[in-house]
Amino acid sequence: MMLCKLSLKNIKKSIKDYAIYLFTLILGISIFYVFNALESQTIMLNISSSTKEIIKLLVSILSGVSIFVSFILGFLIIYASRFLMKRRNKEFGIYLTLGMSKRKISLILFLETLVIGILSLGVGLILGIVLSQFMSLIVANMFDADLTNFTFVFSGSATIKTIIYFSIMYLIVMIFNTLSVSKCKLIDLLNDAKKNEVIKLKNPFICIIVFILACIILTKAYLMVTSDISALQEFKDILIPIALGSIATFLIFWSLSGLILRVVRSNKKFYYKGLNSFTLREFSSKINTMVFSTTIICLMLFVTICLLSSCLTVKNSMNKNIRKLAPVDAMFTTTMNMDRDYTYYKNYGYNDNQIKNSKYKVIDMFNLFNFDITSYFKEYIEVNTYATKDLTMNHTLGSKLNEIRSKYPFLAYDTRESIMKISDYNKVARFYGNREYSLNNDEYIIVADFKSMIEVRNVALKNREVINLFGYTLKPKYDYCVDGFLEMSSQHINTGIIVVSDNIIDEDYLILNHLLGNYKTSIQDEIIKLENSINDLDKSLKAKDYLLPSGSTKLSIKEATVGLSSMVTFIGLYLGIIFLISSAAILGLKELSEASDNREKFQVLRRIGTDEKLINKSLFNETFIFFMTPLVLALIHSVFGIIFALKVLEVFGTEELLPSIIMTSIFIVIIYGGYFLITYQSRKNIIKEKY
């Protein structure tokens, strides 16, 4: 029981060293719990079954991510505990000289880990349970679920999972501790504290060369990801700039201390002012001893920033797009005149009857199923789309075809273009609240909103390519695509509709009939019921011979979007926060683990009469620079990383970049800044003069 008392006393004594460790553990545990308890949190929510499916998928993805997260946290905990172990070498040395066996020291460490483990798990789980209640609110808000029957939720399975995962981590820590105790030598333990720090000074000349080299490599990596994205076709192509960037980051941190010292020391007036020389030397010796960790921290921060900001951008853009891109309640589409292309549709799996019977418009088709669709609509319009095998992209691109084909070899050039009458298009545009257009008989316009396709089509339009349609020759009215769409969707995916004057259309080529409308009711439950009953029509016998119009409704688009965007957000937040905590914790631990050594240094400063204000300023500056160094480089990386990510994620919409960058900054300021302040305050306390 002596040992028990000893371990408890040790923990109490070194709580200042442990504070940030404990804080990190508690935070990690609570976040782990929150994201794993998501399923239980959503049970009480009143949401549609399709949303439930999405949440189920989300939960299973999150539990996969949790394994990854547990690895990161595991490494962090082992790293931190070894760090703290090293701090206590002298203490163990004294135990050994006093005749305590290594087995007993291991036992002390075991007990300490046990106490800290139980403490952190207890507090962490309680915090997690509290935080997860807020999570319910966020989820409910995301999925538009009503929270009238809000109840306090406790997830037993998540609790057990958290306990198991973290117990395993603590077990590994215990094994590591035991191993390192059994390996250590008494002489090293005792000498450790006395060891005179040998400053490995790097040759400033080499530092400058390495730094310049690193900058060149970095520029190369930046250019690779930003200039020509089409060169990065495969996954392994993106690994090259990542590897280059990582190497450059390492080299920059390797050379940084020497470089900064060289630069600042040459400004003697600044260097020999107040404690500047001391602050700078302390910083550079610290950076020098942890080049590798700083590199890892910088890269983690980089990933965090990119992850958070691009995830939030996609989420915000998607949610905003929905309002614009799904402006009416429902759109039903039926395919007509399928017999003109019998083999094509046959190959798609439609049966002979369905193909033969494809001569009804949407409303008539619903009537065949004894369903009066129009009676549910407050207002509706009908429009048609036409297509012919004589007008594909091969034709619309005209003389520019080969040029474009060599640049974009994978576009579907043989797909028939969708054609609309100008009157029909304007009807849709009016209904959607989009801009209407007018046309002469010999003109056409292309309506599109998919950015990459607009770029392709604009090449041809700029060249004023004419098209031949139903015996007429048409020239483009504008030398660019105009903005607009017909199909409702969550993203900008309209690759182009050729809009022409009404009187040149040959009705034989009618291929799609659309019905667009707004429901009479606006109550969500009733809409769900209505749409479910329309879906149920598909189960009737008639559906074997008649093809039911396919529907895309505002509600279904919204659910799919929210599902995807929330998945992206949750994963981004989960990983982002864990990365952020890990990197800040490592920095904080490093600073604090040396704070006791530093106490003597500050004592010296006090004895030669340094003002308290000057000492605090020096401490603040050093901690601040130490925390900022990896962050600044990560921010520079992120500028290019985000540019790259936005290009990749273009389809999902990337309009909402600014708010997500602001959100990301808030996250970083709170978590990273929080760790910085805790570290600074703890250091200030440790070096405080004791009278």
Partner: protein, 255 residues
């Protein structure tokens, strides 16, 4: 002669009322400008407590300490720091050099915290390095130089601000005899040529024999004072040894 240090009826008690330890008991003495005074005593005699009180690291229980006419027991906070910075120079047993800074930067620090201009700092360091014979190690780090050199660097840091009083706490404690002799000769030089006032605490008779006056402390009280007068260092040393013998076995290790 001008009075630099005046210790007036200073007492320092430790512990609670029930178990009181009188580390210093109503002690009084004066140090005049240009003196080199040693305070000797066994472990626990109160000599380190005395130094801590004068250096304002610790506070008196009663009494006054005047440095250049200023009662330093009443100083607080930043004026205390200002006092240490401008009036005192410290030399410690374990050197207390900052290991991340070069010796030049270590010495410069005590001036730069006084907001002195670099040109002035540079000039003074060159002079003091000359005086103390550390010119060729100015660009080295503490781990690259010997203990004796470290102590001379520490001394340079102490005197560069031209303090009224230099306080040395067992300055030769961590040095071998050759390095100790070299350091003490430098102290003598500082004292005689630059008129620096030095108060040194030591338990080593040899070290003490370099000073002009030795104050012996026992159980918190002044036991005896010895003036060097016209004695040679050797004669003075023998006198000190006599007193040490008188003081009893505690100081035998000094031999």
């Amino acid at each position: 002669m001008e009075n630099i240090l005046k210790v007036e009826k200073v007492s320092k008690y430790y512990g609670s009322r029930s178990s009181l330890t009188k580390a210093l008991d109503n002690i009084s003495f004066e140090v005049e400008k240009g003196e080199f005074v040693s305070v000797m005593g066994a472990s626990g005699s109160g000599k380190t407590t005395l130094l801590n009180l004068i250096s304002t690291i610790d506070r008196v229980t009663s009494g006054k300490i005047l440095v250049g006419g200023l009662d330093i027991t009443r100083l607080k906070g930043n004026s205390l720091n200002k006092f240490r910075r401008e009036e005192l120079g410290f030399v410690f047993q374990d050197f207390n050099l900052l290991d991340t800074l070069t010796t030049y930067e270590n010495i410069a620090l005590s001036l730069s915290i006084q907001n002195k201009k670099f040109d002035e700092i540079d000039l003074k360091i060159k002079k003091v390095a000359n005086d103390l014979g550390i010119k060729n190690i100015l660009n080295k780090y503490p781990y690259e130089i010997s203990g004796g050199e470290k102590q001379r660097v520490a001394s340079a840091r102490a005197i560069i601000t031209e303090p009224k009083l230099i306080l040395a706490d067992e300055p030769t404690g961590a040095l071998d005899s050759k390095a100790a002799r070299m350091l003490l000769e430098r102290f003598e030089y500082l004292n005689q040529e630059l008129e620096a006032t030095i108060l040194m605490v030591t338990h080593d008779a040899f070290t003490a024999s370099y000073s002009s006056r030795v104050i012996f402390i026992k159980d918190g009280k002044i036991f005896k004072e010895l003036n060097r007068g016209d004695n040679t260092r050797k004669e003075f040393f023998d006198k000190i040894i006599d007193v040490v013998t008188l003081l009893g076995g505690d100081l035998n290790d000094a031999l």
